[in-house]
């Protein structure tokens, strides 16, 4: 094992060790020492992370740093072959960046928590739950870092579930409160729905790609695409639905993405995240803003190479819907944590959307900047809530800037960052100014410049057009791609046998290649296809691009509109909390700050600024080179390092079509507009907002948004109501429509069915039958006045009768 692998592993295990210490001795260690014990663990992680980061940045031959040692956890049997599930450290730019980010943010939040939980643990139950909190946090830290260093999708899933467990435990930390335990349950079960899809994806990966290793899976995927074998040649029936080839590959991608939909709370599984705010605020900052919810984006980044154009398009659509609806809901929230929760959802939507349109590095860049500023804002809100004695309603705040200067201004930096503050055309700005702009630039490119550049055409129907498109020049494509990979990093090529195979294959003469792939019609059709779209000098790229969807206009314009909405609701939140006049004297009087809590804020503020400018972006660009070597992926991004520049498709540098230039006009000053509008409305307190709300149409919209666009109601109605209607007729539809309560995704509906099957059918049906037969035999027995009427006898009689009946049935079946 190399030093860096060891360091990463130590960084993962250290929090686990602290978890064990706290679990067994926490109650003796007491408060606040147990908090510092946990901090010690995460500091060790941070140390390791820094060591690896510095080493990585200074290394010239990065391929040499890659992990080499693997550990076979279990050995599976697949069609008679051995297939180990290997635990191996994933060591690449993405892991190093994410690992460092998570460790740094966690350290800040752990320290903050010591201050925060001092006032939030004991009063809850009269006992010291303080150490338990840090116990869970340490377990989370272990799971999250473990997730980041897993090189296999299987272990990704394992840690995936573990972070879910920690999330469950921490959301439900105040489990004596009903709403907290409900929220915890909702989070876990909603995530499980996503994981169901994830499992489906895993099974497809297992059977068709025949490995769980991420790199190997990608290599196999490429190979199968090139040779039209494996998943691209498969043809299966699932639930009576026939899927094959590209459709199956898409299904695999979407399945894996379902996991991300759960964890990153994407529409339609987004409902758990706002409720998750029932957990302590540091938890919201760590898990539900900076790290765990971003794991979904990380997952998509990791499996990016397994995504087909259709799957990518699906991801983009989901992201686009999520970012839109949640931003709208955020406008009307009055709970400071809820505003942040919905804004998190919206920003996650941007990331997922970015992934979907192919802006791989941009989405991750946004993830990292967002992690810093959102964690900071959540901690700020925690400071506010703590200072105001557990008041979360912004309507009772106001004017806190004098009492909490550090919180106020660090929060303001966060607002600027999320709003995309910056001077367009220059390199002066914060967070979203860079990262969100990149996402939007790629979206612009995909929307407006696509046809011109590649002669690609919008696919009217994914499956219908599939046959035509499968006729792209696969071998040529491979030449291009393998060449790129070798040039870019070298390590992928060296590592995997099947890539070697690819390389050999293109070395073989054209004829041989053709005959080996039964579908030799490929080439003719390909030439035709390229020629058809080809006012472009590179037919190969045109071929790939033709498979990529051109993005419909609404998917570009919705994020643009939301880029105006974001600054508005964030500024509203900040202004209502810190500016204006105090609206509640009592709250204002008590407000205070404590150093243990504001020091981390400053570190995070520095992190926000630093993340915007330095460390991460180039590294991500470099990582993107590896990650986007999928056969069907066109990485669309200009800002990759020079080394990779000519291999990846950059953004247009044509002046007329420069997306960055276009965006300045479209969205460059959105932060100014949005924030200005918020100040205009809220500068004199809430009166103006109230007046606006009373306008007829606005009032209706406000109501809809307050009701969170009815998702909880819909789930409740569909799941609960649907089954109830089935059970008791459509008579009490009204009751169902007004039913409120937890929107447990499983819902009481399932419970209803369960009650029916569990109680009525089981005890009434099957048992009833058994009892009836027994009784009737007993009756028969009495009729013939058998002297022994012991029950056992009758049961034996029944038993034999039953056996004979079954026997008859079997004979009937077998003979037919």
């Amino acid at each position: 094992m190399g030093n860096y692998e060891i360091a990463l592993c130590i960084g993962v295990v250290a929090p686990l060790f602290m978890f064990a210490v706290l679990a067994f001795f926490g109650h003796r260690i007491g408060k606040p020492t147990s908090g510092w014990v946990a901090v010690l663990g995460v500091l060790a992680s941070l140390g390791c992370a820094t060591y690896v980061l510095l080493g990585w940045l200074s290394a010239t031959d990065k391929a040499a740093l890659m992990a080499t040692t693997g550990y076979d956890w279990v050995v599976l049997n697949l069609f008679g072959n051995e297939m180990p599930i290997e635990f191996k450290v994933k060591l690449d730019g993405l892991t190093v960046m994410m690992y460092f980010m998570v460790a740094l943010v966690s350290t800040c939040i752990f320290v903050f928590s010591i201050g925060y939980m001092a006032g939030h643990s004991d009063e809850v139950d009269g006992q010291c739950k303080f150490h338990r909190f840090f116990c869970y946090l340490s377990l989370f830290e272990f799971s999250m870092l473990g997730l980041l260093i897993s090189s296999s999708i299987f272990f990704l899933f394992v840690f995936w579930e573990l972070v879910g467990l920690c999330s469950y435990l921490l959301i439900g930390f105040y489990f004596d409160k009903k709403f907290a335990s409900n929220a915890a349950m909702k989070a876990f079960i909603t995530n499980r729905v996503g994981d169901f899809g994830f499992l489906l994806g895993l099974m497809l990966v297992f059977v068709f790609l025949q490995t769980f290793d991420l790199d190997q899976a990608a290599a196999n995927f490429r190979h199968q695409y090139a040779t039209n074998s494996g998943i691209f040649a498969a043809d299966i029936d699932i639930l009576g639905w026939h899927v094959s080839g590209m459709g199956l590959a898409t299904l695999m991608g979407i399945g894996l993405f379902c996991g991300a939909m759960g964890k990153s709370a994407q529409f339609p599984l987004h409902v758990w995240l706002p409720d998750a705010m029932a957990g302590p605020t540091p938890v919201s900052a760590l898990i539900h803003a900076a790290t765990m919810v971003a794991a979904g984006v990380y997952l998509v980044a990791r499996v990016f190479r397994l995504l087909t154009p259709d799957a990518q398009f699906f991801i983009a659509v989901i992201g686009c819907i999520t970012l839109t609806i949640t931003a709208l809901i955020a406008i009307v929230q009055v709970d400071i944590k809820k505003v942040l929760a919905y804004s998190t959802l919206s920003q996650l939507g941007y990331m997922i959307f970015g992934m979907g349109v192919g802006a791989w590095p941009a989405a991750l860049f946004h993830l990292i900047t967002h992690a810093f500023f959102k964690a900071m804002m959540f901690l700020g809100s925690g400071q506010v809530i703590e200072g105001c004695h557990h008041v979360q309603d912004m309507r009772k705040m106001g004017g806190l800037h004098k009492k909490m200067p550090v919180t106020c201004w660090t929060f303001f930096i966060g607002v600027l960052a999320i709003a995309g503050f910056g001077i367009p055309g220059t390199h002066f700005g914060l967070g979203g100014f860079f990262s969100k702009d990149e996402v939007l630039a790629v979206a612009y490119e995909r929307t407006y410049n696509w046809e011109d550049r590649f002669g690609g055409h919008e696919k009217d129907d994914g499956h219908g057009a599939e046959n035509a498109h499968s006729a792209t020049p696969r071998e040529d494509d491979l030449i291009l791609r393998s060449g790129k990979v070798i040039l870019a990093s070298g390590q992928v090529h060296d590592e995997h046998g099947s890539e070697e195979h690819d390389a050999d294959e293109h070395g073989a003469d054209e004829h041989g290649a053709e005959t080996s792939h039964g579908e030799s019609a490929t080439h003719g059709a390909a030439a035709h296809d390229a020629g058809h779209g080809g006012h472009h000098d590179d037919p190969v790229l045109a071929g790939i691009a033709a498979q990529q969807h051109k993005i419909p206009k609404w998917m570009f314009w919705l994020p643009i509109i939301i880029a105006y909405v974001t600054p508005f609701y964030m500024m509203r939140c900040w202004w209502m909390t810190f500016m204006g006049k105090p609206r509640d004297g009592h709250v204002h009087h008590h407000a205070h700050e404590s150093p243990l809590m504001w020091a981390p804020l400053i570190v995070l503020a520095i992190g926000t600024v630093a993340a915007s400018y330095m460390m991460f972006r180039p590294q991500l660009g470099e990582a993107a080179v590896i990650a986007s070597d999928a056969p069907l992926v066109v990485a669309v991004d200009g800002e990759v390092p020079d080394k990779a520049q000519h291999e990846l498709l950059g953004l247009s540098h044509d002046k007329d079509k420069d997306p960055h230039g276009a965006l300045i006009g479209i969205v460059g000053f959105s932060w100014l507009v949005g924030m200005g509008l918020a100040i205009l409305i809220y500068r004199n307190g809430l009166e103006l907002a109230e007046r606006i709300k009373r306008l007829p149409f606005v009032g209706f919209i406000h109501w809809c948004l307050m009701e969170k666009l009815f998702f909880d109601h819909i789930y409740d109605t569909v799941l609960v109501g649907g089954t109830r209607v089935i059970l008791s007729g459509a008579s009490n539809l009204f009751d169902i429509l007004v039913v409120d309560g937890i929107a447990n995704l499983l819902g009481r509906g399932t419970v209803r069915i369960a009650e029916f099957s569990g109680n009525i059918m089981d005890t009434g049906g099957v048992d009833g039958l058994v009892d009836a037969i027994a009784e009737s035999t007993q009756g028969a027995g009495e009729m013939v006045r058998q002297p022994q009427t012991g029950k056992i006898r009758n049961y034996i009689l029944f038993g034999t009768t039953g056996a004979v009946l079954v026997l008859a049935a079997i004979i009937a079946v077998v003979m037919s």
Partner: protein, 551 residues
């Protein structure tokens, strides 16, 4: 002693049971503990087998390579021979160990016998308990069908009395139901037993040139009860698999498969023959529930692998889709039923139905991964379900009821117990890192992998995968209702789990984690060898049959 190790382990509990009849009342439970404890310690000695060699390779290169074999004539005539034939291979070894382990813990769990509602007859209780242990151990090591059957029945009676005498209010009903269901299965098994004997005699007469014994290398000339012989003897397999071999005008292999299958399916249990289980569990005293869930259910799965699939792989092919339907229904229906329960213990009982559905699914697709998953799932469930039952028992001892909706906030009044409960239920939920996950994952992967062979396997895998959502649903919901929430007045004074209770929970909890983290070292290494050989054996038979059909 070393060469009769297995016999010692099997009969030690019974000997202890006889001894305790003659000791003073206060000493009874200590004798019982000594008996089951010694059996456990001795069974640990079996690990010696695996020292100094790759565990998977220990079981030789053909199915039927056994360890610790003891065989002696028992009842012999000139046309037949019933043997006392016991031995261990990868199928039985993990289950054998599980049995001694769970029995020891269950014995410890019986230590508060005096505080039970029905606390008369402590001698009878522990005698029957130990007799039951002997029966269970015997079933797992018997390799002679007749002996197997005897132990199978030996196990039945003590269980009947243990539930019927020391159970809850409806104990008699539950006991009789348990008895009848099992007996119905036994009847069919008995038919199978006899039929297999005579047909094997026919077989060796028909293909004498193939009838070479795996054991002696000599030609087999009579019918046999030897399970390994029945599985591996080519003449017998050829005759059994032949489409022309019929019983009552029905093809022999599918018919016999189903006879045996029903007996084991009742034990497993699968829907629709599962209804004895919730009653038996709810009425049985806590330690007996632990045994029932931890060990008895596994006999079903073990029987499938050893008898149904070992001897009649073609029957498995024939019924595969039917069994898959039953398995998937068991998984989903069991989970839904669990969700509907208000009785805590019944909920855990139904969760067993759901979990055992995975076992059947893994087996019925006939892939190596599926078999491994099923076996692992049995072991894992053998750890997690006794833990869950004991957890229920702990609060039943304090509250004297099991109504889920009447509880709340127990984690606050009993923090240590609450932590163990979370661990146990999350293991049952199938959380990665704990034991429940590995088996489920293997079964799902194994099922999906069978797709090219069985068209329906993809669908079955996906339906089964949906079970994970339902499982999360009912487990979390019950955890919420019982352990979370604000503590209720009447439970505020509940004492924390005692030392004895922790002594039972801690090893179970530790194993939940161990099996989840190191599945290979803790379980797979000990059974993969035999499972692979079994699969090879089955494939050989299938190919032979296909060749015969082709010719």
């Amino acid at each position: 002693m070393d060469q009769h190790l297995i016999s010692w382990i099997v009969f030690l509990p019974m000997i202890a049971g006889l001894v305790l009849l003659f000791v003073p009342r206060e000493l009874v439970k200590w004798v019982a503990l000594f008996g089951s404890g010694l059996a456990f310690v001795l069974s640990l000695l079996l690990f010696k087998t695996f020292w100094g060699g790759e565990a998977a390779g220990v079981f030789g290169d053909a199915y039927g390579a056994l360890h610790h074999v003891e065989r002696a004539g028992w009842i012999t005539g000139n046309r037949f021979s019933i043997e006392y034939f016991v031995g261990l291979d990868g199928l039985s070894f993990p289950l054998f160990l599980l049995t001694t382990f769970v029995s020891l813990l269950a014995c410890l769990a019986s230590f508060n016998f005096d505080s039970w509602k029905i606390n008369k007859g402590i001698k009878a209780y522990f005698f029957l308990f130990l007799l039951l242990e002997t029966g269970m151990l015997g079933v797992f090591v018997s390799l002679d069908f007749f002996l197997f059957y005897v132990f199978w029945e030996v196990m039945l009676l003590p269980m009947y009395f243990l539930i019927g005498v020391w159970g809850g209010e409806r104990r008699e009903y539950a006991a009789i139901k348990f008895f009848i269901f099992t007996l119905a299965g036994s009847v069919l098994m008995l038919v199978g037993l006899v039929a297999m004997f005579f047909y094997s005699a026919d077989a060796v007469a028909k293909y004498p040139e193939l009838a070479t014994s795996y054991n002696t290398g000599a030609q087999v000339t009579t019918g046999t009860f030897d399970l390994i012989e029945l599985t591996t003897n080519e003449a017998i397999q050829k005759h059994f698999g032949d489409a022309g071999t019929k019983l009552l005008d029905v093809r022999f292999a599918p018919l016999m498969f189903m006879f045996l299958f029903i007996g084991f399916a009742i034990k497993l249990p699968c829907v629709p023959v599962h209804t004895w289980l919730p009653d038996a569990h709810v009425q049985a005293p806590t330690p007996i529930s632990m045994i029932l869930a931890g060990v008895l259910l596994k006999m079903g799965g073990y029987g499938f692998l050893r008898l149904c699939y070992g001897i009649f792989p073609l029957g498995g092919e024939f019924w595969a889709s039917f069994l898959a339907v039953i398995a998937v229904v068991s998984i989903l229906y069991g989970a839904l039923c669990a969700m509907a329960q208000t009785d805590f213990k019944k909920l855990v009982a139904y969760s067993s139905v759901s979990h055992m559905g995975y076992v059947l699914l893994g087996i019925c697709v006939m892939t190596t991964t599926g078999f491994q998953g099923a076996m692992f799932q049995m072991i894992a469930h053998g750890i997690s379900s006794p833990m869950c039952f004991f957890l229920v028992g702990v609060i039943y001892d304090r509250a004297h009821h099991r109504q889920i909706n009447k509880f709340g906030g127990l984690w606050l009044s009993m923090p240590r117990y609450g932590s163990m409960a979370t661990l146990g239920f999350f293991a049952s939920l199938g959380l990665p890192g704990l034991c429940g996950f590995v088996g489920e994952a293997y079964v799902l992967l194994g099922t999906f992998q069978a797709g090219p062979h069985f068209k329906w396997a993809y669908t079955a895998a996906i339906c089964a995968a949906f079970g994970v959502v339902l499982t999360a649903g009912y487990i979390l919901w019950v955890v919420q209702r019982v352990y979370l929430g604000s503590v209720r007045e009447e439970y505020k004074s509940f004492p924390e789990a005692t030392g004895r209770e922790m002594l039972i929970l801690a090893p179970l909890g530790a194993l939940c984690i161990l099996l989840g983290v190191l599945p290979k070292q803790s379980v797979f290494d000990f059974m993969n060898g035999t499972l692979n050989l079994l699969i090879d054996q089955m494939n050989g038979v299938t190919q032979m049959a296909m060749a015969a059909a082709g010719g």
